[in-house]
């Protein structure tokens, strides 16, 4: 254990700004966090599966005791079980799973599939300001620009205020479209089922790979196992992220159809795409355990109840003048503030109340997301939503009066 202040050490050697008051986490179960100063927090930041689930923890520990990473010189039973589970979890014809080390890598794998499908196409389309992971192409989509002079797929974006305009941009110059079912700042119903069907049709018409980014929305987050169930379409590639590894074992998955996969990889050396660590037994065991827990614990239903709680306790929050929008799609809960400054103020006030949320999101930095883990105890969710309301009332109302 470091003898110095952990926060100071991490700030010294990291890149970017880390809040000097960031909590130092020493214990986590569900949404509950203990910190080095002995205080108790709620985690509304991770937006993942959650720590301390008995069955998942036991499964990971058991696999770690036998084989974690693997030389892959023998057959992997955990991998076979994981891809069977993913096949059962995803809609047909999404039957082929590529397991890698992060949601960002999984998204990148879909982009690579798109580029291999159409080597002559050099553009990928997304909604500006949303999160597309930390790899170079994903960052380019988030910001609409990249410091790398030329990328295999250059990002093209539509404004977050007009996500529906994505449809107009789909043509045969694109290799892929990447879009999440919903995102902090964009409610699920912002894009109608008709719009999604039109997007599906247009991608099919122009042979553009439709990549549905469910890193945040699945499993279970929106109240369905997969949010694609709510959209009424099946994408060409579906991306799942860190929640599948219980936020503990790094993993991401791209699931696609055999037909889409074969267009690039059939009859080719299997090393054409892959990763040293990808598809390792420990991550495969984690995926199996998490998917089993999603079903056994009814986590999609739990997110619907989380939505009920959020609506009951926060539903009228938009009547506070400085909150311009409130959304609860299952366990994807967020508020839009009138300004980025107010979003930062709310985030800081929530931290004082021992609720950890991510730094403000969206292209304008005006969205505060409330993202407890999927396994958060329902009573804890009630508390979180109640504290958010109290803090918002106090901070935002006081600021309004002051203004």
């Amino acid at each position: 254990m470091s003898s110095r202040d952990p926060g100071a050490v991490v700030r010294r050697h990291s890149i970017g700004t880390i809040d000097p008051h960031a909590p130092v986490v020493t214990g986590m179960v569900g949404a509950r966090m203990e910190t080095a100063d002995g205080s108790h927090w709620f985690d509304a930041s991770t937006g993942g599966f959650g720590a301390g689930h008995p069955n998942v923890t036991a499964a990971i520990a058991e696999q770690a005791g036998r084989v974690a990473l693997s030389s892959r010189i023998l057959l992997s039973r955990p991998l076979a079980e994981a891809v069977n589970a993913l096949d059962a979890f995803c809609p047909d014809p999404l039957t082929v799973s590529y397991l890698c080390n992060s949601g960002g890598e999984a998204l990148d794998s879909a982009l690579k599939l798109a580029k291999g499908t159409h080597p002559d196409r050099s553009r990928v389309l997304g909604i500006a300001g949303e999160n597309f992971g930390t790899l170079t192409h994903g960052q380019g989509l988030s910001t609409g620009a990249t410091p790398v002079p030329v990328l295999p797929l250059m990002p093209v974006t539509v404004a977050s205020a007009r996500p529906e305009s994505l449809l107009e941009q789909v043509d045969a110059t694109l290799a892929a479209v990447v879009v999440a079912p919903a995102a902090p700042g964009r409610p699920l119903d912002r894009l109608s089922p008709q719009w999604w069907r039109a997007l599906r049709d247009r991608c099919t018409q122009h042979d553009v790979l439709l990549i549905l980014d469910e890193r945040l929305t699945a499993p279970a987050r929106l109240g369905w196992d997969l949010a694609t169930q709510a959209l009424g379409i099946v994408p060409d590639a579906l991306i799942l992220g860190e929640a599948l590894g219980a936020d503990a074992v790094p993993v991401g998955v791209m699931v696609t159809s055999r037909a889409a996969y074969d267009r690039v990889y059939a009859g080719k050396n299997p090393s054409l795409h892959g990763s040293t660590f990808g598809a390792n037994p420990l991550s495969a065991a984690a995926v199996c355990a998490v998917l089993a827990a999603v079903a056994a614990d009814g986590l999609a239903d739990r997110q619907r109840r989380a939505e009920d709680s959020a609506r009951r306790l926060l539903g009228d929050i938009a009547s506070f003048g400085t909150v311009t929008e409130f959304c609860a799609d299952g366990g994807l809960v967020w508020l839009r503030l009138a300004t980025a400054e107010q979003a930062r103020a709310l985030t800081a006030a929530l931290a004082e109340a021992r609720i950890l949320v991510r730094p403000p999101l969206g292209p304008d930095g005006d969205v505060v997301a409330i993202l407890p883990p999927l396994t958060a105890d329902p009573a804890d969710l009630e508390q979180i939503h109640g504290i958010v309301r109290a803090v918002a009332e106090e901070v935002l109302t006081v600021r309004e009066v002051a203004a």
Binding site: V25, N84, S122, N269, N280, R358
Partner: protein
Amino acid sequence: MNAVPQAVLQQRQDVLDSLGRHWNPTAALMLAAASRPVEQSASGTEVISEEGDRFLDLAGSYGVFLVGHGNPQVRDAVLDTLCTAPTVPPGAVHPATAELFELLTTILPAGLDRFVLGCSGAEISETALRAVHLARPDRRRILIAEGGYHGKTLGALTVLGQPNHREPFEPLGSELITVPYGDAAAVREALADRSVAAVFLEPVLGGAHLTVPPEGYIEEVAAACRATGTLFVADEIQTCLGRTGKMFAVEHDDVVPDILLFSKALTGGFIPVGVCALSSEVVAQAERHPLWHPSLLAGSSSISALSVSAATAAIREVIAKNLPHRAATLGPRLTEGLAEVARRHPKHLLGAPGVGVMAGLRTRNPSVELLISMVMARHGIHTGHSLNEQIDHPVLRFYPPLTITAEEIDRVLAALEATMTWLDRRPRRLTDGITKLIRRQYQLPPWLVLKLSHSKMRVDW
């Protein structure tokens, strides 16, 4: 070898069917052809099947298992973190990260004191790519070595020196200069006009091209970079933490790069993790770019407290057991032994490149590599096959865990001698013919691949 019971064969078939239908159909076909058993556990230098058969692992996932399979110290650290605080929530700090960062400052060359964490070599290669373009905004070109490998994500493909992995996705748009590995003059010439942002280079060229460079090569490259304001990115993803006999391979030439990438052995064999270590000067230059935002050099969203705990425990093991020294002292038993085998069997072997415990056999053609790996597997020894049948002289790799004993190395060399004696009785034209066949193996009907491999498995996916 005893016949495998039908029930066991059926269990393997069930696993293969799942992998073929729902994971990677071609990889599953290759596994079916190799008639491999199912992995049950791994410990030290051994991998153990569900039937209890034990295999010496000289493949080592190309450097991952430096501290051995199932290292108890790393496992305990991982399980302890799993049961306390396995996650690093956005906006929070985890003490395990601080512990790792403090430890990194004690092992890295002085000056490399800013760290970005990733979950794969490819992720941190992409981080480095963004960093060098941020820090050198007026320079569009990147220099790499022929055969160089820095990952296969779509961004990392742009700096990949292996054409067979790039071509299906080209054009990639990057402005690359590719020079022969080991040729310092070619690097100097390419950098002279100051249009190159960075050199991405492995201090020991890995993969199927395993090559130990001429003495002083890395120092000459670093000097050329300094003279032209070009950034030097040392890719130590395979060579880190002692495999070559030094903590980092750049130390053989006493070089401090601007950016150093390392992973594989850092995982301790447990949890994916990699580090992109940068100098503060490079970071300061990057921060002056008009597009600068800290998120451009953000770590992977997938990094967990398990990743950093595993890395810390792995480094502590490397230090406690002085593994760089062990690689330097035990390594020659392997490298010189392989060189002796290569001298005795020139019909099929061209040499035995190696340093520390990063060693290999340069083969006459891809079928020689395949045949040696298959026969060695029958001896219960798994080697690092390159899966690269397109190049002329692939290197079959021997990257053992440093839990390997001198006696086990002797066993490997004895099995290799027997294998080569067997192979020497086969004419070169046979291996030439097999090479032509395996260069088409992925287009052959699966039943023919299985028949040629004498496999009892089925392929119906």
